[in-house]
Symmetry: C2
Subunit: 225 residues, 2 copies
Amino acid sequence: MTQLPDSIEDSVISAILGGRLRPGTRLGEAKLAEVYGVSRTRVREAMMRLETRGIVHVSARRGWFVVEPSATEARAAFQARRVIETGMLRDLHTLPGDAVAHLRAHVEEEREALHTGHVGSRTCLLGDFHIHLAHAFGNPFLTDILRDLTARTTLVSMLYQSDQDAAASSDDHAGIVTLLADGDYAGAARLMDEHIRRVEDGLDLAAAPDPLAGLREILSPGAPA
Amino acid sequence: MTQLPDSIEDSVISAILGGRLRPGTRLGEAKLAEVYGVSRTRVREAMMRLETRGIVHVSARRGWFVVEPSATEARAAFQARRVIETGMLRDLHTLPGDAVAHLRAHVEEEREALHTGHVGSRTCLLGDFHIHLAHAFGNPFLTDILRDLTARTTLVSMLYQSDQDAAASSDDHAGIVTLLADGDYAGAARLMDEHIRRVEDGLDLAAAPDPLAGLREILSPGAPA
DNA sequence: CTCAACAGTCTTGTATACAAGATTGGTGCG
DNA sequence: CGCACCAATCTTGTATACAAGACTGTTGAG
């Protein structure tokens, strides 16, 4: 499904999409340099690229951190995705013949992940659907833009205690694919709009994000001396 | 109209939007470092950021160059703009009250630039309209995305001998503002779609971009010894 | 005269050294 | 005991040195 990342950037992005990197996680240059077996220079370059893509940010002389979108930014990110994804479905009718089959297969994978219950691959697959759909339209700019936006909304979901029902999302995806199979782009656009709104509405954007979420989780079973 | 840029990136972007930087222009690190009075390190950082934004690219050990979009990339860039800008107009009805007035003033500026005939500020203003419109909707993600896409399409226009009629473009802009003033977002979206198509159709994307365009221009009057 | 090989120069690629600020842990005063 | 202050340590910010490759101009053979 997802090819293994060759660059530091891809590696970080895919870790976020897969839920392995949480918002607020510190990414020390020295640490990363050791992990990837490269010098700090390369790590810095990668971090700066990710920064311009809005994935990480730097706190002066403290380190690089996975972004923690504010409620406002969260809303804007979802809004941007809605505008672009529905816009694509409404304006572009250029899906190649095999796209629907591929998307159907993807939804099938989602279903399986739902049953096996592996939360990481599930999160990853649910985000990947949108990226694959964008990719199928063949516009690399839109694909790249949506990849970054999806990474951000994935972070948002991690931050605002999403009660997102993965099964419902997958059902939406299946519905969109069905409509596309019928050539009903307008219907697909409508359903996509509802879908993204549903995901957004499943968030508790009023709740301030818990800065200690990570720690709390680690310490909940019982801390050692 | 356009506040003076404080970073190297903004400076390059605004030079492109204003038509002062042509596609293919070489941006040497040492040269830029001297111009901006900073070290090569900072210049490299800025260039790498611009690279991830698709504005410049690096040719190994030869230097940084303003991108020269291929015909395929050109079409994709216009398509992306169409999807996003019409999507915004269709989905978002969140223009603040004073937005229309500001946009009207902007179109008025365009008109003046048309008469005075200053080609640089004209190009800049025509692109700025779209950026300002995006900005008015208040979604920073979409604004940033459109700024970069607009920079790219500006480069495309320089590269593919656009016969774009600046006056017609400005008329389109005026029309869009009028529709927005009436709250007719759907109509504005339709006109925006036509407008961007018109600009794209004004290009000769079949013609291979002339890699010597810059030189030819310089040498046309008669070369000195 | 043409062309291939080569030396010199220029430019980026990468690592490393050091400066500057932030954090942490300790110490002493009240 | 609590708190402010201070030293030690860690981390990024920035510049610089040097390596590696690309380009240019020259030179010499055919």
